[in-house]
């Protein structure tokens, strides 16, 4: 992996470099196939997570799953949603460690992290208590936009 020089100074610089030099980072760079394999697991987690979250958001919007209350659907889907989330949270930091210093200077990376935190906080708090009426529609729309923007910025990071 080519060495990376920071374009500006920031308190995270050293921490990010340390992460990149850590055993996790070294492991991720140890062979050409490690990163794609970990990334594939990340994407499978994303299929589970995003797939079920999209369904529930569509349900909150009143577009899907109309035959049963959406909070029941969400509860039934929760094990899948959170297994997917666990896969994401395990593989994500590993992928990050492979090129931590590079992501530091990528503005889209920071946008992604903020969107991710916002969307996760929302997912764990307000969204669990709302299941019907106008607030549910609002919630569904906001959640849908946040999660799609997160996935979008994650993909865009590569192209910046």
């Amino acid at each position: 992996m080519r060495p990376h020089s920071f374009t500006y100074n920031f308190p995270f610089c050293e921490a990010f470099e340390w992460i990149e030099r850590s055993p996790a980072g070294e492991f991720m760079r140890s062979s050409r196939v490690v990163f794609p394999i970990v990334e594939s697991v990340h994407l499978i987690g994303m299929a589970l997570f995003v797939g079920t979250v999209l369904l529930i958001d569509m349900g909150l919007l009143g577009l899907a799953m109309r035959r049963q209350p959406i909070d029941q659907v969400a509860a039934a889907l929760a094990p899948y949603t959170w297994s997917g989330f666990a896969l994401l949270m395990i593989t994500g930091p590993f992928m990050f460690s492979a090129q931590a210093a590079k992501w530091h200077d990528n503005p889209v990376f920071w946008i992604k992290m903020m969107l991710l935190i916002l969307a996760t906080v929302l997912q764990l708090s307000v969204k669990r208590r709302i299941s019907s009426g106008k607030p549910a529609k609002m919630m569904g729309a906001i959640s849908l936009i946040l999660w799609i923007s997160t996935a979008l910025s994650a993909k865009m990071m590569e192209f910046v």
């Binding site: 794609p36 394999i37 990334e39 594939s40 994407l43 499978i44 994303m46 299929a47 589970l48 997570f49 995003v50 797939g51 079920t52 999209l54 369904l55 569509m58 899907a64 799953m65 035959r67 049963q68 659907v73 039934a76 889907l77 094990p79 899948y80 997917g84 799609i148 996935a151 979008l152 993909k155 865009m156 192209f159």
Partner: protein, 162 residues
């Protein structure tokens, strides 16, 4: 085959998608979201067939509610995927992983077809059973493996830069 790919490569649409700054990445992202919707909903059904989770809902109710989104997502995935493939046919022609991706996609499709018109026809007798018939469990397992392979091979295609 290569000459067909070459011809596609030279069409204005192919050039436009390939050389644009925004269209290719956006299509790529949308294609991913389509796959998440398709694979996510399918894996939920597969896991239900295998007996993991949603035991309180009958199998047919899970499938009926999820199916429109699976099919809609599939249409979306197929459309964006075709455009992406149209933009770089020669690279995909030379790709090692792209044929594998198509193969596993076809296998997943065949598996779903045989499940739907096979053992699923008699779902009435095992709709709420805690242990589904062996053929249904097999279909669920094959489907999960196929979709994991589709996603992994698809991601691998992105790394095979010529």
């Amino acid at each position: 085959m290569l000459s067909i790919c070459q011809w596609i490569h030279d069409t204005p649409l192919s050039i436009a998608v390939r050389e644009s700054i925004w269209v290719y990445p956006i299509l790529n992202v949308l294609h991913c979201v389509g796959i998440f919707l398709v694979a996510g909903t399918i894996v939920v059904v597969d896991l239900r067939l295998l007996g993991f989770g949603m035991r309180r809902s009958s199998i047919s109710s899970v499938i009926n509610q999820v199916l429109p989104w699976t099919l809609g997502g599939f249409g979306f995935m197929f459309l964006t995927g075709s455009l992406l493939a149209w933009s770089e046919p020669v690279r995909l022609y030379r790709s090692i992983f792209f044929p594998w991706k198509l193969l596993f996609l076809a296998l997943a499709g065949l598996n779903a077809f045989f499940f739907h018109y096979g053992v699923y026809r008699g779902v009435g007798s095992w709709d709420t059973a805690s242990l589904t018939p062996a053929r249904a469990r097999l279909a669920g397992a094959v489907s999960i493996v196929c979709w994991i392979c589709v996603i992994a091979a698809g991601r691998a295609v992105g790394y095979e830069m010529t």
